[in-house]
Symmetry: C2
Subunit: 172 residues, 2 copies
DNA sequence: CTTTGACTATCTTTTGATAGATAGACGGTT
DNA sequence: AACCGTCTATCTATCAAAAGATAGTCAAAG
């Protein structure tokens, strides 16, 4: 993976976090990176290719991130809630949530990668000890909390929505 | 509101449920309705105007829908979970969830209408007896469950994610 | 005779994509 | 060392389609 190809994926991911698949163009990415749009096509023939590659890379990063978080705190609810919160605190959205909401409008390979992302989380949650319902509800809640925080441009909304998930809250 | 204007909004809403703000064009809408794209501009000068009008109308419809649902079953958790489920069962997405996920990419007035939609729900939940944390979590969970069901094209995923919200499940 | 609603026609930008040229790096052959 | 072919990466130039928007026309209704 060349230097430029990585920069292209970085730029695309940044824009996908804001506007999803329709939120970026070859020319915008090219300008961000400092090359011509044809050079972007050289590395990623089609827009679908680029988006799919970005989502896959993001999923791999997320997978590793969660693994490390679980080493620090093995409680899956806390680990995942905190992990997704990090994205929101940074003022960004998880690109898979943005694209997942418009899943029916995605090219097939991109939709498949997005599905893979959520499947990965569900599977990892099961491995961490949650049963299917618990895993689905946790994933749904932190996903929805991200959307709400995005809509209100307010991290506090994420915290409010996930407040009762955390053990301390239940005890209070 | 003319016959045609209503048909335009219907067509726009249908496409927005799939692809959000970027998921429709004046020409597509015009073709759906059977008029020329310039006629769409006549009724809704800009794309932003059309989208904002659709979201507002959808919010009003949703508000009435919830009011009626609460008359049938005053338990807010059951009422909202069932209401959002209806959209998913129909194989569609709530347009406000699709657009909310890409909120940062929306024209200001459209983003404001989407915010209004979620504020409306939060307020109504409070009126129905939920405290702020419960309301936020419920809204987040059914929102996220909708996204997951959309990603997996599977209503069962919505049910799994919302299973523990329902009283019967807690008792089990 | 003004308003309403829709039409024709057209403009400008943007977009995804392609073709073809160029320049440099690398490796093998003479 | 000098030459040759190939591959890589990028550029210039361009296409065809799609998109949002506007100007001006026309017919029917009140």
């Amino acid at each position: 993976m060349s230097e430029v190809a990585t920069a292209i994926m970085d730029a695309a991911e940044k824009r996908m976090r804001i506007g999803g698949f329709g939120g970026f163009s070859f020319r915008e990415i090219a300008a961000d990176v400092g090359v011509k749009s044809s050079s972007v096509h050289y590395h990623f023939p089609t827009k679908e290719d680029l988006a799919a590659a970005v989502v896959r890379r993001y999923g791999e990063w997320a997978s590793n991130f969660i693994d490390e978080a679980l080493l620090v705190d093995p409680d899956p609810v806390k680990a995942w809630t905190k992990a997704f919160r990090g994205t929101i605190v940074a003022g960004t959205m998880c690109p898979c949530i943005v694209m997942g909401a418009a899943s029916q409008d995605l090219p097939p390979t991109v939709a498949a990668e997005v599905r893979r992302f959520f499947e990965m989380h569900a599977k990892k949650m099961a491995d961490a000890g949650l049963d299917p319902e618990q895993a689905s509800e946790l994933l749904a809640t932190i996903t929805g909390a991200s959307v709400l925080a995005n809509v209100f441009s307010d991290t506090a909304e994420y915290d409010r929505a996930t407040h009762d998930l955390l053990p301390e809250a239940v005890a209070a």
